[in-house]
């Protein structure tokens, strides 16, 4: 029986000719990642177990992105722990304020991860790099510590759900709408312990940024990873970034899938997820008119260059509605600089938005946009759990950058396709 794309990558990294769903394997890791919240816990575990050397200081990435620039003394102390460890072990890919970006936008941009890699990260959205045709999954701090010590980790080989994409998306339909729609279809545990393998002619219609957004939220369906085939767009993206040789894996024609979900991109509407689960999806039309207090455009899900451009195209020459706070966070310094060069920062500020340095900040209710009881946000982030962006009685509605920007102008949930009518 054939293997899925994920199974092939895992087999190759375990030194096996084949693996099957359910096998427990030990695989070699190409990259081990942590952030300012999870790395200090991993360092504690690493040192307590008596390890003194990391397996390879070129293959560990530490990105201080969650609470930075530090929001309080305790978070500053966490960063000190990571900084000292990075210095002591000569961690090459160490990103601090000034160079750091939101990790899952940063690693692909800097060419640290690429096709065929096996990556773990102590951050649940590490599944983002599946967009590049890598096996990449979120783990905890002890897994990160094990990875830093040995360059290896254990995995249960996942079964897969095949997501067949057909058609071409209509106006204002993006990767975010695809993944929200999928989570609405299969539920927040619809892909629990499984791979989501995206395939079909519709893949070619999606930009790399769309694919990053889709893979990023595989975890929101419970998935272990969310992976795309490597095509011309992937190879073009990694060409001048990725320093290693891309390894291209394809699913066997007779690979086994537990389930096939078909999504016709041409039939999708701009989609939102209502509180308090990403699976509570509605079309933007069904939610239109709902009052909001805050808009957040950014995060590892939707803080990339194309997201900034979409938001700017909607906000250009306009003012956001009275009483609305709109916070825009370009995900990396390179994206921030590009926004500056393209005049997008001017558009945002003139529209009445606040623009922040790269940080995860408000997405997890950390800082830079925490909400009070009774407030409601539209956010391009990935989770709308109880208390996610602040008070337990605040609410988050997940949406694409187009819907978020249109909503900022309207002061309520709004359909970006209706602008100018």
């Amino acid at each position: 029986m054939g293997m899925t794309m994920t199974q092939k990558i895992l087999a190759a990294h375990a030194g096996l000719s084949e693996v099957h769903a359910g096998d427990l394997i030990e695989a070699k890791l190409d990259i081990v990642l942590g952030n300012d919240v999870t790395t200090p816990v991993a360092i504690g575990v690493f040192e307590k177990a008596g390890f003194t050397e990391v397996f390879d200081n070129e293959k560990i990435v530490i990105a201080l992105d969650h609470y930075t620039p530090c929001k309080d003394i305790k978070s500053a102390e966490l960063c000190v722990t990571s900084r000292d460890f990075a210095k002591k072990h000569g961690i090459r890919h160490f990103y601090d304020v000034g160079t750091v970006g939101i990790e899952h936008a940063l690693l692909p941009e800097q060419g640290i991860v690429g096709p065929g890699d096996c990556v773990i990260g102590a951050d649940s959205h590490t599944c983002t790099y599946g967009a590049l045709g890598a096996f990449s999954t979120g783990v905890g701090s002890t897994d990160m510590a094990a990875g830093m010590a040995s360059g290896l980790n254990w995995f249960k080989v996942p079964p897969a759900i095949k997501v067949e994409l057909t058609g071409k998306p209509g106006p204002c339909v993006s990767g975010k709408d695809v993944i929200l729609h999928l989570i609405g279809e299969i539920g927040v545990d619809g892909a629990l312990y499984k791979s989501l393998e995206f395939t079909g002619e519709g893949v070619a219609e999606l930009s790399m940024d769309d694919r990053f957004t889709i893979s990023n939220m595989a975890i929101e369906a419970g998935g272990k990873n969310g992976i795309f085939p490597v095509d011309e767009k992937t190879l073009e993206y990694v060409k001048d970034r990725f320093k290693r040789e891309p390894a291209v894996y394809e699913a066997d024609p007779d690979a086994e899938y537990e389930r096939v979900v078909t999504i016709d991109l041409s039939k999708l509407e701009p989609t939102v997820s209502m509180p308090h689960l990403p699976s509570n999806t509605k079309t933007v039309g069904e939610a239109a008119g709902l009052h909001i207090d805050q808009v957040v455009i950014g995060s590892c899900t939707n803080g990339r260059m194309s997201d900034m451009r979409v938001a700017a195209s909607i906000l250009k020459g306009k003012k956001i509605a009275d009483g609305i706070r709109c916070i825009i966070i370009p995900a990396t310094q390179q994206i921030y600089l590009q926004c500056m060069e393209e005049g997008l920062l001017k558009i945002f500020v003139e529209a009445g938005c606040a623009v922040s340095a790269p940080t995860c900040g408000p997405c997890l209710g950390g800082h830079m946009g925490v909400m009070a009881a009774g407030e409601r946000a539209v956010a391009t982030t990935n989770r709308n759990f109880v208390g996610r962006m602040g008070h337990t009685q605040s609410e988050v509605i997940l949406a694409s950058p187009a819907v978020a920007a249109a909503s900022a102008l309207a002061g309520c949930i709004a359909d970006p396709r209706a602008l100018g009518e």
Binding site: V37, A122, T142, A146, L192, V370, F385, R388
Partner: protein, 159 residues
């Protein structure tokens, strides 16, 4: 292990187990003092050592924060029983040597406040309040080895 049950529903996410605003201090005792606060303010002050937490489907979904099983463990809870676990929470609990049991039948039948005893070796869960018994799925031998060694790093160290 034997204790009183704290019962929660489906999709208990790591943001409610330990909200991100408390992640700036990973000290287990500090995490325990805020555990479950966003859905159950009484938990951290009333939980007794040995108590058992019972959840529904997809327990521990969301973020990869190991702070979540650490917070529950440091609260004194002896084990978590759920209908199913989100995969990163499942890994994290095993990796820190914190017992968790997957058993949809027990999750559905056991009520808040029941006294439950658990044999983690055999996977037998007994609700002493009702007299009902349940069989949890056993761990694969490899995972049992990690738990027996007291966590992943000890396992790795011995290898």
């Amino acid at each position: 292990m034997r204790g009183k049950v704290w019962k929660y529903g489906d999709h208990i996410d790591t943001d409610v187990i330990i909200p991100a605003r408390y992640l700036n201090n990973p000290d287990p005792a500090a995490l325990a003092s805020h555990c479950m606060v966003d859905i159950d303010e009484s938990f951290s002050s009333s939980v007794q050592t040995g108590d058992i937490m019972v959840g529904g489907w997809n327990f521990g979904c969301g973020s990869s924060r190991e702070h979540a099983p650490l917070a529950i463990q440091a609260s004194g809870v002896s084990c978590v029983i759920a209908a199913s676990f989100a995969r990163i929470f499942y890994r994290n609990a095993i990796n820190i040597g914190f017992p968790i049991l997957e058993c949809p039948e027990a999750s559905a039948a056991i009520k808040a406040g029941d006294v439950v005893s658990v044999d983690t070796k055999t996977g037998v869960i007994t609700d002493e309040t009702t007299g009902e018994s349940f069989q949890a799925k056993p761990f694969p031998p490899f995972i049992e080895q990690i738990i027996d060694k007291g966590g992943l790093l000890n396992y790795l160290k011995e290898k």
